[in-house]
């Protein structure tokens, strides 16, 4: 019959011989690993969900021609298609805008032509009284910002005449929009209508993008866009990117420090068990040294024992942590948080580190003098 190597035989017997004390250490490690695993799961899932939420809170990247060129500095209408051709999955929406200085009666107003379907994706908080313009091809309707609506006395169903130079168009107000931004003073219509009024067929002022992910991921997408859109500026909207990064950073920081604290507490639990174990094992170590065991060779046994506890505690803790994360997700966020497999190796690695740190008292066994131990001192 095949028997395992002596190292594993001794390790197995060590685990069995001190199972009481090791069980206490294992409970400490499993508890720490469970909380760490739950927090890591919550962190990863919450981060994904939060970044998804953030992406409905406005554009965070703008593609535009370099400033200072007048009408010549307009971009081509094909830019959104070129962006779509990059298949960057993190780009949630891309809305081209053409801004036209128009007038209604004798008063000036900015007419913004855009793709309403894309605008809707990235501006979920806009409030519309009346109806949204549903199709990007709709050339008859417009949305009017609430300030502009007050200024021009417009309401849903009314018609507005707009002039730019010699050209005029007539649009029916579909809804009054409240955005809290510059759009409140603008009239928004389809890109094609704005191009017709401005006589700038196939041209756009800029393209607003909504890019999901962390600050670093957004930077990466920005670099890819810049590399593929020669002659155009690709700029992240710093305040939004920074705010998102800051919120995510704080959540991550909170979770990091909580995990660190939990692991230190588990390590202290292991430390207490191992300190008692070190006293119990002085005689065995004295004997092993007398038989010719070197300190590193003997310590390897004890470190392997601590490592085994770390692996076991980490794996068990991960499973408990998944359940805990699901419970936290439902109770705190009202959403189910799914198990993330990448958390398993992280949890096990962290727990092994805690177990090895907790096994530090066993290092004192290296100083045991066999002559004293074997004399019974």
């Amino acid at each position: 019959m095949h028997t395992p190597p002596m190292f594993l035989r001794i390790l197995w017997k060590l685990l069995g011989a001190s199972r009481g004390r090791l069980a206490i250490a294992l409970i400490a490690l499993t508890s720490g690993a469970a909380v760490s695993s739950a927090l890591l799961n919550v962190n990863l899932d919450a981060e994904r969900k939060l970044t998804r939420e953030f992406r409905t809170l406005g554009a965070n990247v703008v593609v535009a021609p370099p400033p200072g060129g007048g009408n010549a500095a307009l971009a081509d209408e094909s830019v959104p298609d070129r962006i779509a051709a990059l298949h960057a999955t993190q780009i949630v929406a891309a809305a081209p805008y053409l801004y036209v200085a128009a007038s209604s009666g004798s008063q000036p107003v900015i007419l913004a032509g855009t793709w309403f379907d894309q605008v809707a994706k990235m501006n979920s908080w806009w409030q519309v009284e009346g109806n949204w313009v549903s199709s990007r091809a709709d050339q008859e309707h417009c949305l009017v910002g609430q300030t502009a609506a007050r200024q021009f006395g417009l309401a849903p169903g009314r018609t507005v005449q707009l002039r730019s130079g010699e050209r005029t168009i007539s649009l029916t107000v579909s809804g009054i929009v409240t955005t809290g931004g510059a759009e409140d003073s603008q009239i928004l219509t389809s890109l094609e209508s704005a191009q017709t009024l401005a006589g700038l067929s196939g041209r756009v002022s800029l393209v607003q993008l909504s890019v999901s992910g962390t600050s670093a991921e957004i930077e990466r997408v920005t670099r890819t866009l810049a590399a593929n859109l020669a002659g155009l500026d690709v700029r992240p909207v710093r305040q939004i990117a920074a705010a998102e990064g800051s919120i995510l950073g704080r959540i991550r920081g909170l979770i990091f420090w909580t995990i660190a604290l939990i692991l230190v507490l588990s390590m202290l639990g292991v430390l207490a068990s191992m300190a008692a174990l070190a006293m119990e094992r002085r005689r065995d170590v004295g004997l092993m040294k007398a038989l010719g065991g070197t300190v590193p060779r003997i310590m390897r046994l004890f470190l392997a024992e601590a490592g085994t506890l770390g692996i076991l505690g980490g794996a068990l803790g991960f499973l408990v942590g998944v359940l805990l994360a699901r419970w936290i997700g439902e109770r705190v966020f009202g959403i189910p948080i799914s198990a993330r497999l990448e958390v398993l190796p992280i949890t096990i690695a962290l727990t092994i580190v805690a177990a090895l740190a907790g096994a530090l008292p066993l290092r004192l066994l290296g100083r045991v003098r066999p002559a004293e131990i074997l004399r019974g001192e």
Binding site: F7, A290, G292, T294, R369
Partner: protein
Amino acid sequence: MTAPLVQVEHLEKRFGETRALDRVSFDVDAGEWIAIMGPSGSGKTTLINILGGLDRPSAGRAAVDGLEIGNLGERELSRYRSEKIGFVFQQFHLVPYLTALENVMLAQYFHSITDEKEAEEALRRVGLADRMDHVPAELSGGEQQRVAIARALINHPKLILADEPTGNLDEVNEAVVLNLLHELHDAGHTILVVTHSRAIGNLADRRLELEHGRLARISAAFLAEE
């Protein structure tokens, strides 16, 4: 002429103000059985510990098989203990959670590689063929000491050091262990036994008698009986 296996010259060991060994000198030839005798506190165990590489001399020299024990570093001492020395202790000192077989294999493990067949054979030689898978708590004192003897022999040491090997045994087991030591001696092993027992002392080739850390006399065992 071959050099003595053990050479001890002006050996001293001090514990603070106390001199456990005081300028002790003697030689032991390969194949000799030496009994180290003397009252408690006379330095017998200290002498064995130094020769076994468990302790270091304060002054003088102790050499086994040409190796100066006082000059060895920690790693070399470990190697010396595993390769040159076989220990038998009064308290047996077996690892309680390992079986008899594993206790013997433990010495192999720290020496080089384990050989289960050889360890089984060593236990058979001391009459424990049917007790190999028992842990020490399931063995009698005599059986535990026989496991310790098998463990001491497994790496073919140059020198067997036994500290009161029958001190914790009844008469029957004492006889069994002494018989084993006899066989080892007959097989050419060099044995140093610390003992209080005159009877065991008389079995040895020579007796070294220590008093207050000094070597009081060396005598051939058959001459010492008065």
